[in-house]
Symmetry: C2
Subunit: 333 residues, 2 copies
């Protein structure tokens, strides 16, 4: 762990209580001069570090920054996030993680980008990823799952995103099948799972997650403005939630990766049922009459349940049950 | 089409009937000198081209060669094989076609290698691919199929391989689930489908096919010698089949790609049922009690049928039906 990450962890644990430079130097096993130099560096990154004579240093304000080493440290021994990289800009974090995967990167590698120039959503759609306004990241998974259970992963991921938002904002997100994250009916997050597989086993999955945190309405492309939202917009709207600023992206990132670690373990182990039940409680699509566009096929019927592989079971009017793993809800009523 | 391919097509159509150099020059729109130069080149490749005074040229013996341009021409307007490449040697044709796919190669691109240095079978097993002894090739597919129907492709491919062998040798190949090609209980061919997909659609599939044509028993690695065979071995064994030489690899390649084109169209269109029925007639696994190893899971029960997505339905003793898309048959009785 870098000294910056150790310093931040120490300040975080201390809360409002200040640390003297001498105590910090003792605690972290470096010289006083090194401590003051690193405190200057953190100030330059945007940390407001106050110093009171005789009492010492404390962080008065934490900037909305993603620091790879700090996030990785906060995740402890979790598999997801065992290696965290933060890029200022990349074309697409999914493409970047795919390259790492082909080079043999370990499961749980996570790449964030402050902005993406060619961010992708599902079905080849563009995903706007303005600088610093959200969490745009991809996670490398090497699940021991058969190919036909691949849909479990996006089910697990959407549950993890919803839980992290709820925990960090008090808002009540929902899920629109397959894995749009909605708040008050508007989309604030999406998931794109891309995989490489043969029919015997999945080789790896790149799980891309985009979450609009600080976007204002004007940050969204005009064609999605009516249906998109951000945590910032929804927190401001939610009078009575007791919160009026969105969570820091770093806190949200840590919460999200922790929840993902948990849901992923359940989905790959023998308790996908728990994830499926939770998804069912969050999903607006189940129990409704739906029309789905799945590739060239239009499927209309009653959205009954997820099966054990994470596929949606739709009962057509003729009684026939269709298993669907991808597509769009065109109509839901 | 190259002049060599045009010359070969002309000789093939003519059968035993010779062509004079002058007639060939008129027919193909080039000079007599060009014709004689190309005939010399074909002789150097191994074509025995006889010349009789006043009558002209005919091919007395066709070498067992894979000529990309000739194969491509013989396939006419089929999608599979619209572009054919033949490499003397490569590590793995699947890896090579994957690279072509990422660079945007068209559906139906086919790459043969005379030998592979790191040929792969299913489950990461090595696949021996000795020079000139078989058909080692990969086909790029861009099917408009949902991910959960990916197994249809290997079902279609195994039917195509079995049909081509039957047509070219008179032998009666069978299929062991999921897609081993067997003759008299021994394996002569295998299929490895690797794919890149998201949950909405398959991006592309690399379908690798290995078929032992001219292998002698000593060409097989010791650990598979008891269970492996080749068309040459089986043709020799099949007294009364009227044949004692295996087909030329080029004829077999053309037959196989034609059958694959047909089966692929059925599997992606609305007649996977026809492919499934044919597979059912060839497959030794259906209707038997089986034990399957699918990743970490062992599944034992009665192999009932393929479902509409190409997955094997196994009925366990407790009545529960399992859908399986990959794995190995450990026991079949």
């Amino acid at each position: 762990m870098s000294l910056d990450a150790q310093l931040l962890a120490t300040f975080r644990d201390a809360g409002e209580t200040p640390w003297t430079a001498t105590d910090l130097a003792d605690h972290l096993g470096v010289s006083r001069a090194t401590i003051t130099r690193h405190i200057d560096e953190l100030r330059q990154l945007g940390f407001e570090i106050e110093h009171q004579a005789h009492l010492g240093y404390r962080v008065a304000a934490w900037p909305d920054l993603l620091l790879a080493d700090d996030i990785q440290h906060r995740l402890g021994k979790a598999v997801i996030g065992r290696r965290v990289l933060v890029y200022a800009q990349t074309a697409s974090t999914n493409d970047l993680v795919e390259k790492l995967a082909l080079d043999g990167a370990a499961e749980g590698t996570v790449v964030f980008a402050e902005s993406q120039t060619r961010g992708r959503g599902r079905q080849g759609r563009a995903w706007a990823s303005p600088r610093g306004k959200g969490l745009w990241f991809s996670v490398l998974l090497r699940p021991k799952l058969p190919l036909n259970a691949a849909a479990r992963l996006t089910i697990a991921a959407s549950v993890a995103v919803a839980r992290a938002i709820r925990e960090q904002t008090g808002l009540s997100p929902g899920i629109k099948w397959p894995n749009d994250i909605l708040i008050a009916g508007r989309k604030c997050g999406g998931i794109l799972a891309e995989l490489r597989s043969d029919l015997d086993a999945i080789q790896f999955v790149v799980l891309g997650i985009g979450l609009d945190v600080n976007c204002d309405s004007g940050d969204f492309p005009p064609d999605v403005r009516r249906v998109a939202t951000s945590l910032k917009i929804e927190v401001a709207r939610a009078a009575g939630s007791g919160l009026n600023t969105p969570p820091s992206r770093a806190d949200l990132a840590v919460a999200l990766l922790r929840e993902l670690d948990r849901a992923y373990r359940l989905a790959c182990g023998d308790d996908f049922d728990a994830v499926r039940r939770e998804w069912g409680g969050l999903c607006s699509t189940l129990g409704k009459r739906v029309r789905l566009q799945a590739g060239p096929h239009r499927i209309e019927g009653h959205a009954q349940a997820l099966d054990e592989d994470g596929a949606l079971l739709v009962r057509r009017d003729n009684g026939r049950i269709e298993r669907v793993v991808g597509g769009d809800v065109v109509m839901e009523k």
